[in-house]
């Protein structure tokens, strides 16, 4: 896995890696991927139309459309690193 590619993946995941980490990861990820490459030998059907983690039962259970006020609203605001005057706050988005 080349360095540029590692940087691209890190960017997608919003991870900032040190030079050392980039190098270590590059080697380690290559090893891991080398190991998982054995999967290509496994014989599987080409299409798994909808990849399901577990068997379909009757499908997604739906909940009735009722609203409620959650008891933890104040707690959620309290644990926020920066909550002021009714808003969560963050450094300005550049757009």
């Amino acid at each position: 896995m080349d360095r540029e590619f590692i940087e691209k993946i890190a960017e997608l995941a919003r991870l900032e890696l040190s030079e050392e980490e980039k190098e270590t990861f590059s080697g380690q990820l290559t090893d891991i991927l080398g190991y998982v490459d054995k999967l290509s030998q496994a014989h599987t059907d080409k299409e798994l139309g909808k990849h399901l983690s577990h068997e379909e039962s009757e499908g997604l259970k739906l909940r009735p459309d009722i609203s409620r006020r959650h008891e933890s609203i104040r707690d959620i605001k309290r644990i926020a690193p920066d909550f002021k005057d009714g808003y969560f706050r963050v450094r300005k988005v550049i757009e």
């Binding site: 919003r14 891991i32 054995k38 496994a42 059907d45 577990h54 707690d75």
Partner: protein, 472 residues
Amino acid sequence: MIKETIEKIKQGRLKSARVVEESLKKARQGQSRYNSYITILDEKAMQRADYIDDCVKKGEDPGPLAGIPVAVKDNMLYRGTPMTCASEMLRNYISPYTATAVKKLLEAGAVIVAKTNMDEFAMGSSGETSAFGPVRNPIDTERIPGGSSSGSAAAVAAGEVMGALGSDTGGSVRQPASMCGVVGLKPTYGMVSRYGLSAFASSLDQIGPLTGKVEDAARILKVIAGFDQKDSTSVDIGVSDYVKDVDKGVDGLKVGIPKEYMGEGLSGEVRQRVENTAQKLERKGARIREISLKSAEYAVAVYYIIGPAEASANLARYDGIRYGLRPGNSKNLKEQYKKARKEGFGAEVKRRIMLGTYVLSSGYYDEYYSKAQRVRKLIKEDFDEAFSGVDLILSPTTPTTAFKLGEKSDDLIGMYMSDVYTVSCNLAGIPAISVPAGKDSAGLPIGCQLISPSFGEALLFRGARQIEKFYE
């Protein structure tokens, strides 16, 4: 066993306050030796214990786990208490709500005395990736207790609590149970609600009990299992009385041993112990045969694609905006994200996020993620086929006993391979239990694993109880 303690508390012969106080004391003492805990909840626990004793006094029913001190892995939310997932990212997080499984424990009268140490965000097999220092195995403190439910296993093994909850994504309850010499169960996927369990890999995670005795695990499962409307993957199948038939024995049960699990990589002593256990079961009326799980060789590879893929999405929320670590001095938003996640996450977590991001990225999805899901189906089919001929599968829980701290730090693949017998169950969604099967020549615990088809927990407990008797 907790049965006796519960009875005494219910009859008023023993005060929960006393039991809990004793537990808290032991925990504090053990903490400097084993580092099993992240937070010990002295005040809250004593309040709870007093409340239970009060109920008993008033003649009210305090619940099936009345007054028992238990610990909960620090990746499950308990309102008003800290939850760190053993990560810098959540060092100061206070849970705003309570996980369903934890709620059920509380409603059953249990007293939660502590949140246990673990591998960071449940990613690890040794207890060494915690941002709060590694957990040490109470049997031999130079050795790892296993992971990722390290602290939960150690706490039970050290006798500091009477039971604990862990989470199992690829073996994280069973493997540390095996290495610490305690019982650990991973229920069928969907049996126990995941609401309030910090997600690692959503299609693999399950909460399970760690206890000293098989019957205690059955008792706890009965309390925490059941349909939860808040979890869309929760199964609506009804909870059995797992305790009732626990001593029924194994007469007539067909037990299969996968040949793929008994070969290379397995330590000689562990192999021998499993084979001996099989012979003992036979003498008790079980029929042992060899079976084959054809796709077994792919299981770890599949796990290390699907797990990190789902984890990379589940951990994206940790950005310091709504909660969590927010380092100062960022010039702009992007920098803020990166700084928080750089300082908040340890190496193993970063590694798995990178891996997961990669296998889901454009151009690689089909080759890795999609392929892995298809092979996963093969692995499930292997089990379906096997269970058409046997009732239970017997195997080692781990290929070796507890290794030394630091021993596998540079051997990633080696570390990952210690999950080889446990990951398939998570991939197939089927339940499995690890039960203590004596010690090896160095005095380290060996664990046997029993696997059953979906919803076969009652059978697991039966088989495990029998094995437990052999080595008691």
